[in-house]
């Protein structure tokens, strides 16, 4: 690590002395080694994340539209992009929609995930393995493939959902699920929950296996009902896992992009179904208004960092304790 020297015996710092007592090898002296080790990672993070972030902050304060893409120098406009955005009722519609979508999805996902985990704990072993394999299948599916399959399931003419509902006596022949925004988001929720539950279920299940059986048996001997044992023993013990999982779900569901974008491909009016991710995409890549797109992006970043701050602080604390 110190030199290119292939032979080892003569390195004075690291190699053991050829004779006499071995000096304690401690890395207490200030060294350039850690900085050299960090350099490649830091370089790529600066290039691909920090620089774009910086560009984005600058651009969010510029008039940067189609003309600027063809060489016209951008003009500094201060906070005008932000003012324009925040006074545009459409942004608030998208924000409200995104937050509602995110909270509903994160809530339903965590609830269903915990129920599935509890189920895995009580069922017979073969059934549990079946549930685990099914969850893994859904978890492993690439998101684009999942979206394509769900599009086929909900297809208005030949989809199996309409066929099944019609067979049950409801007339869903030719029903288009994506036309109405509310129904569009219902379908999106079904898909996102289907995709996200496996992660929650496995995390919660791992948490449940940490609850010692003896405690639950003791509670049962003391006459606690199943519900009470869950409420007063199991739940407090798995709540640290649950709070992290819930937070991660909220962050992930706030920035949901691929699912919405691909459902918009399938039908659904973009202006009525945009969430923050697809809105930024349509502003930037779609209409070339990079100034406005950057401003919304900064808004999303600030929102995300604010949401995740507590989680990061906690990880950092664990790191320092170790």
């Amino acid at each position: 690590m110190d030199h290119h020297e292939p032979s080892t015996t003569v390195l004075p710092t690291a190699g053991p002395a050829t004779a006499g007592p071995v000096p304690a090898v401690r890395r207490r002296r200030p060294s350039r080694v850690p900085y050299a080790l960090l350099a490649p990672s830091v370089a790529i993070l600066l290039l691909a994340l920090a620089y774009p972030l910086f560009w984005q902050v600058v651009t969010s304060m510029q008039q940067f539209g189609l003309a600027q893409q063809f060489g016209k120098p951008p003009t500094f406009v201060g906070l005008r992009n932000y003012v324009d955005l925040f006074t545009d009722p459409y942004l608030w519609t998208v924000v409200a929609r995104s937050i509602a979508f995110c909270l509903v999805n994160a809530g339903v996902t965590v609830l269903v995930g915990v129920l599935v985990a509890l189920l895995m704990k009580v069922v017979h072993t073969p059934v549990r393995i079946g549930v685990q394999v099914a969850m893994l299948l859904a978890w492993a599916m690439p998101v684009v493939a999942s979206m394509t399959v769900w599009r086929w399931l909900f297809d208005y003419r030949h989809g199996v959902v309409n066929a099944a509902l019609t067979a049950l006596g409801l007339d869903f022949t030719g029903h288009s699920w994506l036309e109405n925004p509310l129904s569009f988001f219902f379908v999106a929720t079904v898909i996102v929950v289907w995709m996200s539950v496996p992660f929650v279920a496995f995390s919660a299940y791992a948490g449940l296996t940490q609850v010692p059986d003896e405690v639950l048996e003791a509670a049962a001997l003391d006459g606690a009902s199943g519900y009470k044992a869950f409420r007063w023993i199991t739940l407090p013990m798995i709540s640290p896992v649950l709070s992290i999982v819930l937070l991660l779900q909220i962050i992930w569901d706030l920035r949901v992009f691929a699912q919405i974008r691909l459902l918009q491909d399938a039908g659904g009016t973009p202006s009525e179904t945009n969430l923050l991710g697809t809105y930024i995409y349509s502003l930037g890549v779609g209409s070339g208004d990079f100034g406005a797109a950057s401003a919304v992006s900064i808004f999303v970043l600030v929102l995300t960092v604010a949401l995740s701050w507590g989680y990061v602080r906690r990880l950092l604390r664990d790191e320092e304790d170790s």
Partner: protein, 295 residues
Amino acid sequence: MSTIAAARPAALRPPGRRRVRPGRLLASGVGVLVALAWAFPVYWMVDSSFMSSVRLQDGRVHLLPVNASWDNYASVWASGSFLPALRMSLAVTFLTLLVTLVFAFLAALAISRFRFRGRRGFILAVLLIQMLPAEGLFIAQYRLVGSLHLLNTVLGVSILYIAAVVPFTVWMLRGFVAGVPIELEEAAMVDGLSRTQAFVRITFPLLAPGLVASGVYAFLQAWNEFTVALVVLQSDASKTLPIWLRSFVQASASRDTDWGQVMAASSLIAVPVIVFFLFVQGRMTSGLVSGAVKG
């Protein structure tokens, strides 16, 4: 606890563990339904991929393929765009995987084996970056890659993937490196190895599971990624598999969607990943857990 103890002490039951409990049977029934619900879309994809569009549109639900054939796969293959996309995905994934592992490994070494000024700042940055949504940065990244003249190239998209994957990989590997006691290395050095040799012969082999686990993570991220690829890879020749699948679906939709072919295309992407995932998942989750838990 006191509330429980006070609740109903009379409910003492003989602890016969092997009785058939109707509650558990009911739960198992529900469990079967849950398993079916989660597996069904994947099953339906594969099932449909073996049927002709005539069968798929005859208004009936075929839970098993009727007149199963590989025709749809043959048509997808014949469209000629699958192989280039596969090559592109392989190139991007392996470049990302390789560079990420090297970079992240070095950085993990730095933060778990050294105490230095700026260490805390780096760790904080690594944790915060994991939270940054691609959706909040892709416009700027698109401009960056454009100004480097790397739009529609393997290198251009890989740079963005590496930056996205490195932070979590550093975090994960850090746990593994910290899990190998420094005393092992020192003992080897007392026995006459140089520090480098001690590291290569003693520590490195012990890190193999960690490298595999983080490699799998980087692989899946790069292989399945959609958002950044959609923005940075816009030419037909440079599509990765997820982007290729989307265009395949779009093209098919413009002429009355052949769902059999579309499902064959989806299966081509999904089935290898699913098989790979089922194969490595035990190792990966244990890797994730020990990486996250060890300090």
